[in-house]
Amino acid sequence: MNATKAATPRRRMAAPQAIFSTVFKARESGIVLALILLIAFTATRNSRFLSAQSIRDILLGTAILAVLAVGQAIVMITRNIDLSVGSVLGLSAFAVGSLLRDNQGVPVIVALLAGLVLGGACGVLNGVLVRFGQVPALVVTLGTLYALRGVNYLWAGGQQINADRLPGSFLDFGNQAILGVPWLVLIGLVVLVVATIVLRGYRAGRELYAMGSSPQAAELAGIKVSRNTIAAFLVSGALAGLAGVLFAARFGTIDAAAGTGYELNVVAAAVVGGVAVFGGSGTVWGAGLGALLLTVIGSCLAVLDINQFWQQAIVGALILLAIGADRLVASRVARALRKRDSHV
């Protein structure tokens, strides 16, 4: 009887799904806007910026960062973080590099798999330490950041694998395109799409969000937190390994320092892309966009012939600008929501 009445007050908070979907559109729209403005501005200053060559260069650059950012996003969604990606990338790049140098015959696909496996192993190590050692992810991955880099130095020492030592097929893979789409970009897109589908459409994906949103509740809900955590780190590691192979293919020169300091770009890409640092929300698309934005910023500065010394400062300012805009959009939508609540 009066139950329905009991509910009446609550009707005012009923927010039609429409609003929320717009929220999610809005989440990324901030970055997209920034991106468009930046490109437009640069293009007007230097038409060559939109030349096929330059676009190709940007996309190739983005592909590697995006692959890393996707992995990072997945880990961050579970309220963890993976700072070791830079070192994993370096390790995998060198491993695959020396593999190919020593046996020229190895097909590209094998190289890719090797990278995935090696990276995955590192990821599992992180995951196990985080989950079963109950060591905060930041500590673990900061540790493996140092340790894996050290391993890489020990192994690689001063040697540098130069392009002339790598099989041509592999280097072609780094630069050539299929149906106009460079291989690297293609791989980046595949990773992005698959990750999106899994995170949005599959139980495993949703459970990751749940874990990040409330670890305790996740345990109580009977979610296999251990399995998922380790899986998340595995994916992040594997993708970092994959990125290592792409790195090797693209740059052709690999030494022990490859990928040093990448972790911060990757985290920045994910965060700029709207992935919540403390878990539970964010999309890999956002992370991908973040990666694109950072890369574009980089090459814009090079193209715009900005004073070398100003470049880094501008990068920082633009990052702040991007997250600022993102937050602005979000809060505006939230306010709209509350108003919406009031007059039903």
């Binding site: 910026f49 130095y153 715009l304």
Partner: protein, 333 residues
């Protein structure tokens, strides 16, 4: 305090260059010399110090290699301190910052350790001698000469350097600037100096940037081995190959492929190994009291022959070698 138990040279008060040298003193054996390059695992400096190793083997000295993985002055200082504690006889250092390393280097000399700067100098009041791969002027002139040849006397030129703070590169670039200002190079226009921070990837992207921003670019000069290799690789894979020329300082091994495929026609470099080799001989000469670093003093440097210390305790290795498709296969470093 650091006792100097087994550095006899030092006992004769030879720590300051004011002390008198004895050119005929016998070269001491068992001299402990440690090399502290800008950064470990950098292919170039590895070759350099390898020369030092050979030399110390010839001189029956003890060779040691230490160093940070990042090319920063502060981490070099930590290593200098460590070497002081370990009571080395000689430190061979390629300074990341000529001033920042000074206080500790002087502490070392106070403890009777000889200091040989090589490759990149430390402030002259805190080292005994500096082994210079080639006179700054010489390198600058050589770079301009190559560039002007490739540009056919006129056109836009850009420089792809190492880090903005790199002592050497900046010195050379100054010379290049000065030369270009001269009337005979009026046709050449320096449009941009980009910095690849001696990171392969950054250099790669900077090369991209240069080619996009300067349609009429004729020549890229990259006075750093990392930069020239990255630029060569980008050129050879891009549509600019053959249109834009590339020269600078690089090792034959890095560039062999690109010389052969025509991306690069000419580039220069001294023999890095010889830098370390000479530094080692200078170090032992110091430790043995044959020299003190004063101008005009002479000492023998094994297969390189005799060297004379120039102004400010500078020892110049000699003019750089120019490599091209003709001679490149005679060199493997």
């Amino acid at each position: 305090g650091g006792t100097t138990k087994d550095s006899a040279g030092a006992n004769s008060g030879g720590t300051q260059s004011t002390a008198t040298a004895d050119p005929n003193a016998a070269a001491k054996q068992g001299v402990k010399m440690a090399f502290l390059p800008k950064q470990l695992n950098n292919p170039y400096s590895d070759i350099e110090v390898s020369g030092g190793k050979t030399a110390l083997a010839e001189l029956k000295g003890e060779y040691k290699l230490v160093g940070p993985n990042d090319a920063s002055a502060s981490s070099q200082v930590s290593y200098i301190n460590t070497l002081i504690q370990q009571q080395q006889d000689v430190i061979g250092i390629a300074a990341n910052d000529s001033n920042a390393v000074c206080p500790s280097l002087n502490q070392a000399r106070g403890a009777g350790v000889k200091v040989v700067a090589f490759d990149s100098d430390a402030a002259k009041d805190c080292r005994d001698v500096f082994v210079n791969q080639a006179s700054t002027q010489g390198i600058g002139d050589k770079l301009v000469e190559l560039a002007s040849k490739l540009a056919g006397g006129s056109g836009e030129v850009a420089i792809l350097s190492a880090t903005p703070n790199a002592t050497n590169q900046n010195a050379w670039i100054e010379v290049v600037r000065a030369d270009l200002a001269k009337p005979e190079h009026a046709g050449l226009k320096l449009v941009k100096i980009a910095y690849g921070n001696d990171e392969d990837q950054k250099s790669f992207q900077e090369a991209q940037g240069l080619l996009q921003s300067y349609p009429n670019l004729k020549v890229i000069i990259s006075p750093t081995t990392v930069g020239i290799a990255a630029a060569a690789r980008y050129l050879s894979s891009s549509s600019y190959k053959g249109k834009v020329a590339l020269t600078g300082l690089g090792t034959p091994n890095q560039l062999r492929e690109y010389v052969k495929n025509g991306t690069v026609t000419e580039f220069a470099l001294w023999k890095p190994a010889d830098v370390g080799y000479l530094a080692a001989y200078a170090g032992v000469a110091l430790a043995s009291g044959q020299i003190t670093g004063a101008q005009g003093q002479k000492f023998k440097a094994g297969r390189l022959g005799e060297y004379t210390i120039g102004a400010n305790g500078e020892i110049v290795l000699g003019p750089p070698t120019v490599f091209d498709s003709a001679n490149i296969d005679n060199f493997t470093f």
